[in-house]
Amino acid sequence: MLYDVRLTLTYDYDAPVHGGRHHIRVAPSTMPGVQRVVASSLSFSPTPHRVTSFVDFFGNTVSDVTFVDPHEKLDIRLTARVQVEDRRGQADLSASLEKLGLEISRFWSVEPDSPQHFLAASPRVQIVPAITDYVQTVTTKAETIFGMAMALCLAIHRDFEYDPKATDVETKPAEAFTLKKGVCQDFAHVMIAGLRGLGIPAGYVSGFLRTNPPAGKARLDGADAMHAWVRVWCGTHMGWIEFDPTNAMVAGGDHIAIGHGRDYADISPIVGVLRTHGSHETRQSVDVVRIE
């Protein structure tokens, strides 16, 4: 499946910003077996003093952007064409929880894709006993890791309300869990916290959803903004599988990934240090069109 992605992120500052430096992670990366970036272009307004880029530990492309002149607004524009592999409908060949533990203990690697990085608490995901208990309850019938992850996906979709006003970008998984409300970021964090609580490696994926659904299907939640979902390590055989708790589905066709990390902190679209006294407002517009 071939997609054209267009993203505009706009930051309006209350007071003029006297220079700043940002790490921006919005451009999709090529991931073997998942997606291939055919073309990608990122532009900024005003024109930065300096732009460089590098690839971070988890393989994400980072633009390092420096501004020197005062400005009151920042526009980040991305256009990309991405070929996405259809990964839906895979047979469940994942391990049982018990076997998974054994496989992890034999996984002598700290390479970026090693499940070892995705088991402990990370900057934005704490292990919360209440969430672990919830996950245990909703996954009792599942026998495999894949089955457990899918069951959890469905449960979150059933028990949580999609409500952009209920939470913000700083909301902790425990709060979102108590509220049973939030957006994709919250659902992904809750799911990650719960899986790790049971000893299942889970990470955070940031990306986009196709905007208009195929004929006869409903538009997906979160399609008009940047999206987030979860990747779960289902054992040595199946490896990493992506699940979207916001839409209760396996991600593997309509999802275009920017990149991934342990949680939001590893792949947030913009990390910045500004010289300013005011606050700012953010707007984003996303358009994802299937070409073929």
Binding site: S109, V110, E111, V273
Partner: protein, 803 residues
Amino acid sequence: MTKRTSEPRSAPRPSPSIISDYHLLPGVPDEMIDAAGKLRPGWDRLMGAFDSLGSAELAARFERADQYLRDAGVFYRKYDGAAGKERAWPLAHIPLLIDETEWRTLSRGLIQRVELLERIVADIYSDNRLVQEGLLPPELIAQNSEFLRPLVGVQPTNGQFLHFCAFELGRGPDGGWWVLGDRTQAPSGAGFALENRVATTRALSDVYGEMNIHRLAGFFRDFRDHLFAQSRPDGGRVGILTPGQLNETYFEHAYIARYLGLMLLEGEDLVVEAGRVMVRTVSGLKPVSVLWRRMDASFVDPLELRYDSRIGTPGMVEAVRSGSISMINALGTGILETRALSAFMPRLSKHLTGAGLELPEIATWWCGQAAEREYVLDNFDALMIGPAFATTLPFDDLRGTALGGSMTSTQKAQLKDRIATHGRHYVGQEPVRLSTAPVYQEGKLEPRPITLRVFAARTQEGWGLMPGGFARVGSTPDTTALAMQRGGQAADVWVVSSKPVEQVSLLPQEGDKLVRNSAGSLPSRAADNLIWLGRYAERCEATVRILRAYNARLAELSKPDLPILTHCAEFLKSIDVDASEAMPHGLLLSINSAVHSAGQIRDRFSPDGWLALNDLQKTAQRFATRIQTGDDATRAMTVLLRKLAGFSGLVHENMYRFAGWRFLEIGRRLERAIQISRIAGWLTGEDAPDGSLEMLLEIGDSVMSHRRRYSVTAGTQSAIDLLVLDPLNPRSVLFQLTELRTQLEALPGGIRDGQLSTVAKTALQLQTALIIAEPQAVTPEELERIAGEIGLLASLVAGHYFT
């Protein structure tokens, strides 16, 4: 030149009487007395000297050491619940003596260890063979918050991760030394070791001189040479990166910076431009190429490490990646402090060096492994149980680590349960017993447990050990290592040689190239603080002078509603000072602000000046609780005025005329010009009551000059002439502007190609206007305007030099 100070050790002397009632603790070795009950090498000399001094003289000498520490302003910050307070350094007066032969064994073991640590950390941040080969569990890295992912694959520019490390050691019941912990992140204590040495030798200079004790200066000299050797051929400064004055060991950072001649830098002083670290100085951005990091790595860059760090420099990791900066130690080396790593050190040593560890370490069982977990659960009561990923030393870890047997049965059950399910988070460690050394308490020697902190640094010839260090001395006779959690004292460590030792000094040697540092390296932040220190000190003085004039009249007339008093009180109110308070809160705030500004630039400041300022603060605080308005306050203000003059005198008579002094002077002149303009305007206005002019002359300290130059009765014009326009009166506004112009021209960039800087031009304009002004034209409105203009000049200076 080596001085021959003593003959070889002579025949045994009779046992000194001071040790006759020193009673050893059972089951642990003692540093002074060996198993056979004899004094160990060196101690016989020391105790003999104590005997001949007698207890009165000894007490006086120990007091001399304490006095030195107080005078030098040595302190540390302790965080116990509320805001950290500065504490006096708790010196245990008797040094710990270690024989050179034993020291050599210790050195060999520690150098083996630090080289092993270097290889481990190099592997962790490159290809991770140790994990692949099953020698290091991946969890200990991948789930470790000290594993800094942005540094993976980054080779340090000099190829080395570790340059300066510390080790905590204890002597076990078998008599041998054990490693209790490694400090690889940003080890502290070397500066305190130096201060301990100075203080201890103050008390015992004659004994120290007669014994052959290894000197510490050579160690610092060699490490400084190593630091400068790391700087790039195209230049670049060498600095110490400090978290700032709220850090518990800030004193030490400032002290070492001064001692070694390094810049003391905070994250805010630095900026990364095109991958290069630069320091903001008053002459613009200057490159930095070596940073001796005293800040935990995760705080150095808010862009790539901790996003919430407010003390870092955005882009620092990029600079490291691009190889333009040497970090001492490399970012990420903190992972070596992970407690669970101890469990793997013996095996890693065999694997990487082919040999076992020469110095053993506390036996450690990591509960992430099945067999080890079983062992810990089976021997729970007899082990210290603590967090596996902790980087604190077990005896610094008040909350996290405890002896299994000391827990309640509920705690035990809960913890055992956690270990069974979440084993990888826990370690069990052998509870260490420590040796004892004597402390002097109430005229007697008492044995107390000790641990030893030793420092290792790279030099041009490989690793070297500081021949000394500092010993922590327990506060009770309990010799379990955990008892050290309860704090105690610190003692100097003397390495005793049987032969004369090399006398080293950090002063340049004959033949060294003379290096002159240019004045332009003053960091902008330091300059900013110097200006504010000057301004606050001057503001205090102005306020004190007005308060004294006010209270003197109040005492004399005892009618607070007299026009002159209410008029004066109204002025004080405009500067947030309440005249009805004998020691107004507003004045205390100014004094505190002066101390705060001075505290941020301790490295540029003489200890005497610092003590004078602290003394001023303490006196003012004491007055605040005791004095009454009127006569009492008049006298108190006179005392404060004298103390302020003492501070100014110390600073201005002793500070080298570098850019730093100029900024202090600029601050002082700016503030005085503003204060005099304002009070002169206030007291010469149409509504100014009788007695205003006399009061103005008194506040401006110009009563005598006025009497000499004009008539006995003050007129508005003569007062204005003397306090505003007189070029020779050091209190006049014109005098301040003349001084300001001189200093601004002398600053970096003050005159370029014969052209004055914008700032110097503005000062010249203001000065010229006053030179040509006639007294009658200097109205209260005009004075208010002048004060405003000088305020703008202050902002101009800040804008020009500090951004």
